[in-house]
């Protein structure tokens, strides 16, 4: 039996609104500012509502985040002349890290990452320095707790690419972190 318009809307509200923060946070990190993030989320929710009937169960958050990401990609295409925060592929970073493993085969550096050594603003700044596909995979894994398979769905790349991209993203963040804290130490002296 077909749902009435109000039924449909209530069902959508019940499923989609609990994920509004997750949707907004992803959009905010992708777009880089609140105004654009809000546009992207509004558009994503409208699309999600329009194609709600295509959702046949499963993880609604993953489905919704996929739409947020697609809406963002669309938004970038339509606003090509505007600020470009998003670079889908980052060949420079990908090749720069290609020959390195997470720690290399050499003995581990003497420094270690210490949680106390980095505050919120520093971490935010480091994340913003990362290529957007690294930032995205880290957010989806560490903040949104998505599995590799779910990240592959949202970002539309093979699961093997998710694994190697995540490894490189962690390596890049670790390196920035160590540089940052070494700098702090030097400034402190």
């Amino acid at each position: 039996m077909p749902h009435s318009g109000d039924d449909r809307k209530r069902r959508f509200e019940r499923l989609a609104l609990p994920h509004l923060d997750a949707a907004y946070n992803l959009a905010r990190w992708l777009a880089g500012n609140p105004a654009d993030a809000e546009d992207v989320v509004q558009e994503a929710y409208l699309r999600a509502y329009r194609y709600f009937d295509a959702f046949q169960g499963g993880n609604f958050r993953v489905w919704l985040l996929t739409i947020v990401r697609n809406s963002f990609a669309n938004w970038v295409r339509e606003n090509r002349s505007a600020r470009m925060m998003f670079v889908p592929e980052t060949p420079v970073a990908e090749t720069a890290d290609r020959d390195e493993t997470m720690w290399g085969t050499s003995p581990r550096d003497p420094e270690a990452l210490l949680l106390d050594s980095l505050d919120s603003q520093m971490l935010e700044r480091l994340m913003q320095q990362l290529p957007s596909d690294y930032r995205e995979v880290l957010l989806l894994r560490e903040v949104e707790d998505l599995s590799y398979k779910e990240i592959a769905t949202v970002t539309d790349v093979p699961i093997g690419t998710v694994m190697s991209r995540l490894a490189r993203a962690r390596l890049a963040l670790r390196r920035l972190w160590l540089t940052e804290t070494a700098q702090e130490g030097a400034d402190g002296l």
Binding site: K9, L17, L20, D21, Y24, R28, W29, P34, V41, Y45, L46, R47, R50, Y51, D53, A54, F55, G57, G58, F60, V62, T66, I67, N70, R98, D99, T101, M102, T105, P107, R108, A112, L113, L115, L118, D119, S120, L123, E124, R141, E142, V143, S147, Y148, K149, T153, D156, V157, P158, I159, G160, T161, M163, S164, L166, A167, R170, L173, R174, W177
Partner: protein, 253 residues
């Protein structure tokens, strides 16, 4: 297991993406290895920092209301094909997700014993495939020239698998390396298809009869195995099964 082999797997351990026997084996190594324990700590520290210290941008107040008021009141029937992709597995029941994941682990463990040596080989080829990508150690000899890869493999492994030029068919050759599968030294011939890496493993299995191709799926990877002319073959990739089967048929010639 030594550190060099353990290191690429530590992120997967942290991310709970390893089958249970792998987790146990790696856990034993980490317990006795301060270096790897330190690496794992660092990964955990980065995670904690991102969870605790990274600003989480909550939706501004009023956004929910604005969204709801912008939704059209009546919906016309929608086209069958939306503009975005809906991957099939995203639609698999998540309310059952936890239970399914648990079930999958059990199945993997059982199949490892039930399938005997073949189950072990499948687990090992997936390990080697993931390991080769995580450690960025895809090839020992990196060249798209089959006349370089084949003699190199022949010199290093006791099997000489066919190394074909499949670039015109969409599978460019990347190179080769030596792998260890189920206690055998094996040749790994590496191909690519778009963004997908394909590892083709081959090792000698003298005197055993031919076995037709068989496809299985584990941990998001497809594995096709067959035996021909006294050589055991395993092709593994995150490529779609039908594409990987096309690849296997091209290799088997």
């Amino acid at each position: 297991m030594d550190c060099e082999h353990a290191a690429p797997w530590l992120p997967l351990l942290l991310d709970r993406e390893l089958p249970i026997w792998r987790r146990l084996r790696l856990g034993r190594h980490v317990a006795g290895c301060p270096t790897c324990a330190g690496r794992l700590d660092e990964l955990q520290t980065m995670r904690t920092a991102m969870k605790v210290q990274l600003p989480y941008h909550r939706a501004p107040p009023g956004l929910a209301t604005r969204i709801l008021s912008s939704l059209p009141r009546e919906m016309a029937p929608q086209p069958v094909r939306p503009w975005f992709r809906i991957p099939a597995f995203a639609l698999a029941g998540t309310s059952l997700g936890g239970a399914l994941a648990g079930g999958a682990l059990v199945l993997l463990v059982q199949s490892r014993t039930a399938e005997g040596p073949r189950g072990t080989a499948i687990a090992d080829v997936i390990d080697s495939h993931i390991g080769s990508m995580m450690a960025e150690h895809l090839t020992d000899v990196r060249t798209s020239d089959q006349h370089t890869v084949k003699p190199w493999l022949s010199a290093h492994v006791d099997v000489s698998p066919p190394v074909r030029e499949l670039a015109p068919e969409g599978f460019p050759l990347i190179g080769g390396r030596v792998a260890y599968i189920d206690g055998h030294q094996a040749a790994a011939v590496v191909y690519r298809h778009d963004k997908h890496v394909i590892n083709l493993f081959a090792w000698a299995s003298p005197g055993n009869p031919d076995v037709p191709m068989h496809t299985t799926t584990r941990q998001g990877f497809n594995v096709i195995s067959w035996r021909a002319g006294g050589i055991e073959y395993f092709a593994v990739s995150d490529l779609e099964a039908d594409q990987l089967e096309r690849f296997a048929r091209l290799v088997a010639g």
